[in-house]
Symmetry: C2
Subunit: 328 residues, 2 copies
């Protein structure tokens, strides 16, 4: 099959479509003809050699896909050739074919295209893991979602609204991202470039008012996050786009407010964890994707021959929502 | 009734036994004639004015007691006059009488004296909360328990051994405390004064080997803790005896190892939380106190007229295990 290769995996790398061995079907996996995949920041890191795939995973870029079942393994019971499916991959999305464990594959709701379905797994499962499994968000709690224009951010806002009826505070650096956040359900949206979001939250919502924070920024937000957190508040870190070294951290609020500070990435979780997460998501959130209450925010769709251009768009933070690749 | 007063609640304070109003029975509480209470570090802070009791709590020192039921409220169903009982208090232990919600009171096992029973609630419930409810310790995991000679430390070692069959690593600053830790079930015990416990753990147990840490020290242990933690490791902070300001914290391990960093104190939890915790403890751990598998480590017993001397002993870190007051 054809797949996207990274030539010279370092800062000077380039992408190129070329032949690779076909993925091999095993007893519990299905072989999928990929119709669409979507970009993740991990892809940008991996192509420079800074984020190697976990052991056993395909070395090909791409952490999610939507497509059509081509063939099923000998012990597969849930799928047959021709089914439309989508799901998380540990790697291998930038290719014509992939294999996926039958329990990690989800059925594409009829109302969604391949491009829409491909834009769902990483962002929605990551946001679901952060809000539901880690922060354990409860009905009507207050949640602060940073990088609200990102794929995970837009998914988290929708989940926070529709699964928990939460009070939602969003931050982003561009007005159109804040507008999208509000359209998706954010009650408050602050531009971190012109506003001190901690001061704004204290003024608009109240002191010690935030029950859970989904943070991708790290260092520059540490003190402000701690300041706005409520008693029993939780912070879930998903990345550190703004750096990771925090000077002079006081541990006092951790005790005084009984905080929980956590971090997680989805990619290096075990297959069983991802299967369990996918099942829980399928039960709680997939029905809302079928009715359209939840929907992926798609920034743009590129033919996979233009993947370099698509990567540049993400690298320059131009996207609101997901960048999709198709045409493989 | 008589109770211990703090005279001049500041650094120059003194303690004095004198008259106070009797505690008032309500529908769901029981009135207990206190036979013994025990010291906590919170008492030392409170007498200087630095740790005010939570709203609604007695202003009298003392966070736990053992005694005999004197009278029961109109809706009490579980107790009658003459029953031997012990439990957590939000305050009021340094007195002749106290009231306690009937669901926060536990029955004293026949094999335990009042002095032994009074030494149990704060340390065992705090350790149980930290290990079971917060760190969610699992069977045969590895746990690192700092301040292993303290009341909570000695309780945590016993619980880690008997409830989770854990691999236990202890640290303390005195050889006799390390000896006690080993007798109670610690597999490894390091003196933080002469040894770098992180290096020792990496050498004896392995790198990234610690699943959960119960820490009372804070600042000086932050980096070592993070270094030895395993994937999905948890830290529970119960106090910061060594300071709370950590210079230059890297957030990277939080993400890379998927850490959870938490803090909790028991005292400012809601009454309902304490009731639920007491019930869970009664079910899981009280049977082990009855059989003697778990037992309070008692450092010393003072008559309550010598409370000042008892406080000095704790202030100077002389105690291994609990200091008990009796004779009220």
């Amino acid at each position: 099959m054809q797949a996207i290769h990274v030539i010279n995996q370092d800062e000077q790398n380039t992408l190129e479509i070329g032949p690779v061995p076909d993925p091999k079907l095993s007893d519990k996996t299905i072989l999928v003809k990929i119709e669409a995949t979507a970009l993740n920041r991990a892809d940008l890191l991996q192509r420079t050699g800074n984020y190697p795939p976990p052991k056993g995973a395909s070395e090909i870029l791409g952490l999610e896909m939507a497509g059509v079942v081509e063939e099923v393994g000998s012990e597969v019971t849930k799928w047959q050739a021709g089914d439309r499916t989508f799901g998380l991959l540990a790697g291998g999305g930038y290719a014509e074919y992939c294999t996926i464990h039958e329990d990690m594959a989800m059925g594409i709701p009829e109302n969604l295209s391949f491009e829409e379905a491909a834009a769902i797994p990483e962002t929605f499962l990551t946001a679901f893991q952060a809000l539901d499994w880690l922060a354990e968000l409860k009905e009507q709690e207050t949640v602060l979602i940073h990088a609200a224009g990102s794929g995970v951010g837009t998914s988290a806002i929708q989940l926070a609204r529709h699964l928990y009826n939460a009070r939602i505070i969003a931050t982003a650096g561009k007005q159109h991202k804040l507008d999208t956040a509000k359209e998706l359900g954010a009650n408050y949206a602050y531009n971190y470039k012109g506003q001190n979001y901690a001061e704004e939250i204290i003024s608009d919502v109240g002191p010690d008012s935030v029950d859970a924070i989904i943070d991708f920024i790290g260092k520059p937000y540490w003190h402000k996050n701690v300041e706005v957190l409520a008693m029993d508040g939780r912070v879930v870190y998903l990345s550190f786009l703004g750096g990771h070294k925090v000077e002079e951290v006081s541990l006092v609020p951790i005790l005084r407010k009984r905080l929980s500070i956590m971090g997680s990435t989805l990619r290096n979780r075990s297959e069983q964890y991802k299967i369990d997460l996918t099942k829980d998501f399928t039960q709680k959130a997939l029905p809302l994707l079928k009715t359209g209450s939840l929907s992926p925010v798609i920034d743009s769709i590129y033919d996979w021959t233009d993947t370099e251009e698509a990567h540049q768009r993400m690298q320059n933070n131009k996207n609101t929502g997901k960048i999709v690749l198709t045409g493989m």
